[in-house]
Amino acid sequence: GAGVSQSPSNKVTEKGKDVELRCDPISGHTALYWYRQSLGQGLEFLIYFQGNSAPDKSGLPSDRFSAERTGGSVSTLTIQRTQQEDSAVYLCASSPGPSNEQFFGPGTRLTVL
């Protein structure tokens, strides 16, 4: 079956511009996560959605970052007024439930010039 998909695969933007990153989770998975992977930083948690519950935003680094999940499926991560330190690979993962293993997409590589 289809895995987690993300788009675009690469995004180059100028400092100060807004960007939107998309994630399509595995069909039927109720939990969806966003992580960020930076050189030398490893994978860090950003935000978590579970069903219709309010999202856990505890990992978002600043109020320039936001995310939504429409209809319990597709999710969009938005970064406003991008900064060079936002350059990283943004990974989305989904799982059948909150305590199950998480399956990752291929990521979106964001470069802020």
């Binding site: 987690v4 939990a31 996560y33 992580y35 490893g42 994978l43 860090e44 948690f45 978590y48 579970q50 856990d56 505890s58 990992g59 990974l91 993962a93 909150p98 305590s99 293993e101 998480q102 399956f103 990752f104 997409g105 291929p106 990521g107």
Partner: protein, 112 residues
């Protein structure tokens, strides 16, 4: 605060040379410990979940074990195609967000 430390950071092996990767963790109640494999330019690929001390899981040349403080990923007679970065992550029992806390990874290179 949950912490995960992986060692070594990088490991070079000859084909057929068995070895182990270490993952030490500190967590306020473990819900699960996860191992992933990540190839360059790709997302992490799920390998194993371990839930309690003493548990072991195997897949082909890989075997993962768990104690109360660390996990090992044993690689038996590795092949060049096993070259990748191996990531360890923990999920805390009191973690309402169910997010994973990752270690820095071990980059494994297997030479033919």
């Amino acid at each position: 605060e949950d912490q995960v430390t992986q060692s070594p950071e990088a490991l070079r092996l000859q084909e057929g040379e068995s070895s182990s990767l270490n993952c030490s963790y500190t967590v306020s109640g473990l819900r699960g410990l996860f191992w992933y494999r990540q190839d360059p330019g790709k997302g992490p690929e799920f390998l194993f979940t371990l839930y309690s001390a003493g548990e072991e899981k195997e897949k082909e040349r890989l075997k993962a074990t768990l104690t109360k403080k660390e996990s090992f990923l044993h690689i038996t007679a590795p092949k060049p195609e096993d070259s990748a970065t191996y990531l360890c992550a923990v999920q805390a029992a009191n973690n309402a967000g169910n997010m994973l806390t990752f270690g820095g990874g071990t980059r494994l290179m297997v030479k033919p």
